[in-house]
Symmetry: C2
């Protein structure tokens, strides 16, 4: 394991800067010896230029070549051994078991996008054949497919050092789409980033991808320059509302505005229904305490707000949940900044009139202590919406509402969310279709009788949702639909077959399901121009 601490630019390494970042052990605060050199202004530009130079060749590759590249990245990631896992664990305090699982998730995510490339539906191929005899005017031959938008800047998250970082979902989606990537490494896991970047670079070389297909820069203040760089055509981000919104504002103010897909802030409400509580109250309390504290609560989908209408079942459930929280333990967060931030959030809630702490998981000055709060329903409707501000860590707030109507009122005014969960039996759901309809307008994913933590990487997943959950509800940052964010349509009018991309040729050499004259078909096109 050789560590250099230099930026990845166009297939080479560059360390011109004199601002150093250090890899800190999350549990002890100890710094690793190797300094990581913040990219200089010239290096940021060089990384964007390298991605821009790679773009024409990279996007023009057959999808199968990009699929092989993603498969090769997956293999390289799987091959990162126990010493790698140990380093990631040192930097993040996440246990080895969780990180081994996350490693598989990350490599399988690459493989899933390889499958998407082979399936070919991402092309969105559409063909309207010529109608030379049409009156009053003939229709020309028109063929549409989608290409990568250009170089993409990706900002990794701290909480998933593998699955939402260097080789994470945004990188996988962008590379699959044919977009070279400039990745801004997260300072919370520098060595992890370097080792994963090395793995990607090995895959670049093994599969003969253009130099500059992947680039990575270090630095806490390089993000603004990156997003403002003319060569960057889209941005993927996972992190705080403040950070994400700042990038959105920068991107919108560019001479050429570009889209930013920022996954930012969600309290992931869970609505608790009486019959479910009666039948499964113990299990829900136990699982909920687990969902709030898993990953030390450092998950985008961590449930931060629990809602129920006043009932004997709810009262009894709150007791069970308190007991379950009492059985949890303090745990080390990803970094000391995270702990400070969490403690600040806990203090804010604790001091709020109408909020009380009803259970904690021990005490600690160096680790995050799980907190269960109970808050007055009136706070849901206060103008500052104090219960809708995400507290990133192992805490949650339960609120006893007066009535179903009050629940509907809050749901209708609630901020956008990544997820909204119902704990309900069939009897609970009768007459609550209106509640579900409201939740559809508020969240990207609706769950019944599960917990929002644990985001499946699949075709049907949506990890997105209305603002402030994300900056654009039309995207998802997990699952195969994530590729859509980085594609744009292009139409060829009256191009002869031999000049068209393979995806659009008459003979359908890629075997795609295409929309031809309004019908989905894999058939060869009957082209009146050559008949």
């Amino acid at each position: 394991m050789t560590l250099l601490g230099h930026n990845y630019i166009g297939g080479g390494r560059s360390g011109e800067g004199d601002v150093k970042l250090l890899s800190i052990a999350a549990a002890t605060g100890e710094a690793h010896a190797v300094p990581f050199l913040t990219a200089t202004e010239a290096e940021v530009s060089a990384a964007v230029d390298a991605a821009s130079a790679a773009y024409p060749a990279y996007r023009a590759l057959p999808a199968e070549a990009r699929a092989k590249f993603l498969d090769a990245i997956a293999e390289e990631i799987d091959a990162l051994g126990d010493d790698f896992i140990a380093e990631v664990s040192r930097e993040t305090a996440l246990p080895a078991g969780r990180l081994q699982g996350e490693r598989s998730r990350t490599s399988n995510q690459m493989r899933l996008f390889a499958k998407v490339l082979r399936r070919g539906d991402f092309y969105g191929a559409r063909i309207d054949t010529a109608l030379p005899q049409r009156q009053p005017l003939p229709r020309p031959d028109l063929r549409q497919y989608r290409i990568g938008v250009g170089p993409v800047a990706v900002f990794g998250a701290s909480n998933f050092p593998l699955a939402f970082s260097v080789a994470g979902g945004d990188t996988a989606a962008a590379l699959a789409a044919g977009c070279p990537v400039v990745f801004k490494a997260h300072s919370g896991h520098l060595i992890t980033s370097e080792l994963v970047a090395d793995a990607i670079e090995r895959a670049v070389k093994k599969t003969g991808m253009p130099a500059g297909t992947f680039n990575m820069i270090y630095g806490d203040r390089v993000g603004a320059q990156l997003v403002k760089s003319a060569g960057i055509q889209a941005v993927g981000f996972t992190g705080s509302l403040r950070g994400g919104r700042a990038l959105c504002d920068m991107a919108a103010a560019r001479p050429q505005p570009i889209p930013v897909f920022a996954e930012m802030s969600s309290i992931n409400p869970i609505i608790l229904m009486p019959e479910a509580l009666k039948l499964r109250g113990d299990a829900i309390a136990k699982d909920l305490a687990g969902s709030v504290t898993v990953g030390v609560g450092q998950l985008c989908t961590s449930p931060g707000l629990l809602l129920g209408v006043r009932s004997p079942e709810l009262t009894s459930f709150i007791e069970k949940l308190s007991a379950a929280f009492g059985g949890t333990n303090p745990a080390t967060m990803l970094n000391s900044g995270g702990l400070t931030h969490y403690n600040g959030g806990v203090a804010r809630l604790t001091q709020l009139p109408g909020v009380k702490v009803i259970a904690t998981g021990g005490t600690s000055y160096t680790q995050a202590v799980p907190h269960l709060f109970k808050a007055d329903a009136a706070l849901l409707f206060s103008k500052e919406a104090p219960l809708e501000e995400e507290v990133f860590g192992p805490s949650t707030v339960i609120v006893e509402l007066e009535s179903r109507e009050q629940l509907l009122d809050f749901a209708a005014k609630m901020n956008g969310q990544l997820t909204a969960t119902l704990q309900a039996e069939i009897g609970d759901l009768q007459g609550n279709q209106d509640l579900i309809a409201i939740l559809e307008q508020k969240a990207g994913r609706l769950l019944l009788n599960g917990f929002p933590t644990g985001v499946e990487v699949s075709d049907a997943m949506v990890h997105g949702g209305p603002y402030p959950a994300t900056s654009d509800a039309r995207g998802t940052s997990v699952g195969t639909l994530a590729i859509d964010r980085f594609l744009r349509p292009i139409c060829y009018q009256n191009y002869p077959d031999e000049l068209l991309p393979a995806a659009l040729q008459n003979s359908n050499p890629l075997g795609l399901l295409r929309l031809v004259d309004g019908e989905p078909t894999k058939a060869v096109v009957n082209d009146p121009r050559t008949a």
Copy 2:
């Protein structure tokens, strides 16, 4: 034909304002007697509220119900008679024949979106069935489809008073997506707007759509409030770069930023190759003069820049084109503001060192005179890019380049475009794949041996392109893909079959082609949860 001049709000009419707009005859400047009342701040809010109130019911309608609504609008538009066409012609100076064609285009556009609704691919239905036995963790049942984003603000264009206005492409796409519309009427065709809005309202009532599904407000200064209104979730716009960018900036600065799909500015370059000029120079010159002057050059896809590498064929072609322009005539523009703007653009080019007028189509003080300019190639590379500024009207600029390399250089630095056209024979194209690859990066639609004016409304059309052609290259404002702009995905996790929307139910009651466990199929889902 009863004209009221009041705003359309929630199925009723409202005229509280005291700022009046008048319908002006384009040819004579005469004002129509009926005043149109600018919406007050309260009326703008009321229109957004009406759309917001309609949204839950409207989006929840079966797609077939929305299809019937669009079909009904189409019927009502077709039924607008000769007196309607005469009024539109009076307001716009567009000839009756063109407007009759545009009326058909507008109604057929509605019918095409009805077909999309019936085809059902807009749902983007994806199902990942549960894997209860999977290790280490089971996979839950996950199902995704797309719903309308919410109320959409649409700003109509002046140049297509029917097809890009009240019942135009943006309105059709938004209504199809399940999004109520608040339309800002263009002051250039107020009576036209009112008559078309009446047609839509008749369709609303005939098909029982919720009141507030369609709303329309008058006023030159109501747009900012509309875009800033919290209820509005997306914006469609066709117009100037300045106007479109201002809306983008406003939308990005909202507490909740929203997407703006603005189609703004394009010079639609045409590249002229020697063999094509040799074989078809006469025809190209004639057709090109026609394409530049059709609709008095007031088309988004009007060719504003002609490029060729110095050759005897090009020299000869320029003579032919000059002759063809000499045979064109002045014509009345949509309004006097347009003429002033066009004359300003012509004056700017005329005074530019390195540019000369080589042909005009007559003289006039009250009408737009077609102009053919010839410009030095160096101007293409000047920092101010004076030849890339759109002149909206019947003029174009031809540039003789020194070499193929210079052409490639310019193509690579050129702004984003709606279209890029090659006039070329097979011999011309040999060795020019690199040029085509560059054009793919620059434009939404690539044409071979046609002219960019005349935008087919179909599945494969792209009327979009990189900035400043549009604000978001991932969208199109013409063709069925336009619906995608107003849809967002939503995922249901572990919802029982009976609570799922029809599009996602096991039995596939809508007969959709769905992506089930990674395979496209119309089959019934084999649900392990109920097996």
